[in-house]
């Protein structure tokens, strides 16, 4: 307790600790990241492959996800933004690119960094591949991958450009 300027102040830090569970359906995905593998889950209803497997449930069919499916490692940039704004705790030197990447064999995109090229070279449809951190740094997180980099393959047409409605 302290008193300054006639105002009584009380310092009272609060904290609560949890036992958090990823759930049985997300566990193989997280285990894969520890082992340097990219594992998604297939919905037994619509057969879409989720990477990451969300909460273990297909939101379209409301069914528990089924079989493990190895995806990637290469993928395609579906959209991206160039970060030019500095902020507290920023780990990467600006300007840098945060992109949505659709891994091969997966049906939903995931977010990651694109590095090893100039920010203004990144484009929708660009082919990329993961650059893993040192094996000693692998854990149950997508941060086991340092970033993605261009593969140099020809671009892929996506969405309306590819003729999808």
């Amino acid at each position: 307790m302290s008193e300054a300027d006639g105002i009584l102040r009380v310092r009272q830090p609060i904290s609560v600790q949890y036992r958090w569970s990823a759930g049985p359906n997300a566990t193989s995905h997280l285990q894969g990241l520890i082992e340097g593998r990219l594992i998604g889950k297939r919905c037994p209803g619509c057969e879409l492959v989720y990477f990451p497997p969300r909460n273990g449930v297909c939101p379209k069919c409301a069914r528990i996800l089924g079989a493990d499916v190895e995806v990637g490692p290469r993928g395609t940039v579906t959209t991206f933004c160039i970060v030019n704004v500095p902020f507290l705790g920023q780990k990467v030197k600006i300007p840098y690119v945060a992109a949505q990447i659709l891994l091969d064999n997966a049906d939903i995109s995931m977010q990651h960094l694109i590095q090893e090229c100039e920010a203004d070279e990144v484009r929708i449809g660009m082919r990329v591949e993961p650059v893993w951190k040192d094996r000693s740094e692998w854990g149950p997180t997508l941060e086991s991958i340092a970033h993605f980099r261009p593969t140099g393959e020809p671009d892929v047409k996506l969405g309306a450009e590819a003729g999808a409605s």
Partner: protein, 351 residues
């Protein structure tokens, strides 16, 4: 007013320290209730969910629950940061507006994934009570002490509530604790938070449940004997614990009067009383006579207390009593906040 009834319920058996995510916990009860009632999902005009983000420690974690109900084609849904019984109240209002005829209400609580006694303390006012971290059990013990000192309850009467609840729980598949105990044996046990003993406090469990509400002809089509909602009211006492009498529940009394509890006999009352002395306070406030009304035949929240789902469980149990013909008129109740701060009271009848 439209005639609205509960037409189906599903509850998950209690467990502790589940490894399932909230979504994985909810999905099976939704599937079960939809199958039981024989609903075509396209008939469901409204979904309403009750849960508490503080229990998962993740802001907006409730949004993930939409995955469990399948939001394609698009659905109409809502969430209350409260017990699922309050979600049922919202769904009942939604049906009253005429916007839909059939609604599914569900709730979940992973009560054992964090220190629930501390977490529920965060419901208290953030300026003068919450920073003291009094603990939810301790606040309830404070209330029990005030009731004992005022002569409103006795420790023996509290133990009788526990003994009856534990014995009734033997017939309840979702109960977590059950068994025959003499009142004297219970009174010989040590205090955990004086004057409360372990059996005076509801057992925290992980749980999920779901209820289907339907209006008029839809209700008659979906259930053999719908539990028609005849009265519904929600009242709140001040959040300032020192500014109200803790030895009575004024909000429960008013809610029961407005819901019409006393207008006719009550066969079954499912009261959401997470502490034994609170059942005694609620019976008194709502004018329920234990000799004429079967109180908590499920064992109540004492034998399984999934936070944010225990209130909706009372509605499910009361409705099931009407479905099965065991009751013609039943009362379901849900409390929220410390020391019976909020009370929701519902009267249901079978035809």
């Amino acid at each position: 007013m439209r005639d609205v009834a509960i037409v189906g319920t599903a509850q998950r058996p209690s467990q502790v320290h589940t490894n399932l995510t909230s979504v994985e916990l909810i999905l099976p009860v939704i599937d079960e209730v939809v199958a039981k009632v024989g609903l075509d999902r396209s008939e469901i005009g409204f979904w309403c969910h009750g849960s508490c983000d503080y229990m998962s420690g993740q802001p907006f974690s409730f949004v993930a629950a939409v995955d469990a109900i399948g939001a394609w084609p698009p659905i109409v849904e809502s969430h209350v940061e409260a017990d699922g019984a309050l979600a049922l109240y919202e769904a009942w209002v939604k049906i009253q507006t005429g916007e839909c005829d059939v609604a599914v209400v569900f709730s979940n609580g992973k009560t054992t994934s964090g220190p629930i006694d501390r977490i529920l303390t965060l419901q208290t006012d953030p300026y003068v009570v919450a920073p003291l971290w009094p603990g939810f059990d301790a606040l309830s013990a404070l209330q029990a002490r005030a009731c004992l000192d005022a002569g409103v309850v006795t420790e023996r009467a509290m133990a009788e509530v526990a003994a009856r609840s534990l014995a009734d729980a033997k017939n309840n598949a979702v109960a977590h604790v059950k068994g025959d105990h003499s009142v004297d044996d219970l009174l010989a046990r040590p205090y955990t938070v004086a004057p409360l003993r372990a059996h005076d406090c509801g057992v925290p469990v992980d749980g999920a449940n779901a209820v289907v509400l339907a209006a008029g002809d839809a209700a008659r089509r979906l259930a053999k004997r719908p539990a028609w909602i005849k009265g519904f009211d929600h009242r709140i006492d001040t959040q300032r614990l020192g500014a109200r009498s803790l030895t009575e529940s004024n909000s429960a009394r008013v809610a029961a009067e407005r819901a019409g509890v006393g207008r006719d006999k009550v066969d079954v009352a499912e009261l959401h009383a997470p502490y034994t002395h609170q059942e005694l306070l609620l019976r008194s406030a709502m004018g329920l006579d234990g000799a004429k009304t079967r109180i908590n035949p499920s064992g109540g929240a004492l034998v399984a207390n999934p936070a944010m789902a225990a209130g909706l469980a009372r509605f499910a149990e009361a409705a099931e009593a009407i479905f099965g013909g065991g009751a013609d008129r039943a009362v379901a109740h849900c409390t929220s906040g410390p020391c019976l701060q909020q009370n929701l009271v519902c009267v249901m009848e079978g035809e």
